[in-house]
Symmetry: C2
Subunit: 219 residues, 2 copies
Amino acid sequence: MGKTVTIVRNVMEANERRAAKLKDFFAERRILCLNIMSSPGAGKTSLLERTLADLKNEFRMAVIEGDLQTDNDARRVAATGAQAVQVNTEGGCHLDGSMIEDAIEVLNLDGVDILFIENVGNLVCPAEFNLGEDHKISLLSVTEGDDKPEKYPLMFHISSVMLLNKVDLLPYVDFNLETASAHARKLNKDIAIFPVACRTGEGLSAWYDWLRAARAAKR
Amino acid sequence: MGKTVTIVRNVMEANERRAAKLKDFFAERRILCLNIMSSPGAGKTSLLERTLADLKNEFRMAVIEGDLQTDNDARRVAATGAQAVQVNTEGGCHLDGSMIEDAIEVLNLDGVDILFIENVGNLVCPAEFNLGEDHKISLLSVTEGDDKPEKYPLMFHISSVMLLNKVDLLPYVDFNLETASAHARKLNKDIAIFPVACRTGEGLSAWYDWLRAARAAKR
């Protein structure tokens, strides 16, 4: 296993170098870049659909969509009028810096204020690969259970924001917002936590205020 | 990247050798081994709690619980009276053959009819690592969306069974059972599909009948 570990570290180091260059690229252009991560089906695309529609008169936004297969999500977010490019990992479990390099060659980023990257649906591997983003954003659906921050600690440790999605389903599931929030804050005392329902729009104004502040900090 | 690919292939080949030995081990002892996989929070542990309780007078069952962190799940299934051992991957995104080798040294498998392996919550990576199991079982919660078989095709391509869990929440979510089933059958025409609600017990009798048939085929 010694050799394997060395090789894995080289892959990670190569990715870190790419991520550092991407960070510089976004900084020079004053683009706020956000890396959105969650389990499959927690609502990343729904969050983007809402956000792109509700803030379209306020910011110029673009999206990089990551999925194993299909361009369903790029088509969904493009329907809001935003620029979107789909990256298919062909089975790969996370996005890495080289995929973002390819995607930004396709996008026209002139004048873009916010670039959203929707990572592959996976609460484990994407957490280990920086993409040059300003912030990592994690979504947890209340249907997944309030023990998930404790069981998948790295994801919540490295995220600036945890969105607790699908709170419209709280009456029908066993999920304690306080328990999930306490676990997340134990891993990361500064994490911003927003209970939302992307289907109904409930709670999104707090997320939008966070976005405005993060965007302002980037100017 | 050429070197990386070679090393990854060696890791996969080493795992395949381990999985083949485990398969022989389970065959000699007539143990039905099932590898249960899903996204985080889709209900793997709840399925096991129900199954272990409902069939405890019919079969001797044991469980290997895989998680990044915590032994919560092993404690939950052990509460049913079943033998359980927790494997913590310490951040690793899937179980592999060497972890199963370690776990079966701890378990007393004398007279065990069915060994359940609950994999790490992840719809991507666990699909690539055989563990010597007779069947792969995938769970999809209806809260995750009916597009998941299309977007995570390998998982459903290799599974003998797809359990569509949390059907008690169908009135509150946008999920079409026919759409999800059609996508899964396109990937794998022989897949057995069982809509269930592990919280209420709804639909589990069809899953138990499948288990009885799979167990009988192993004698």
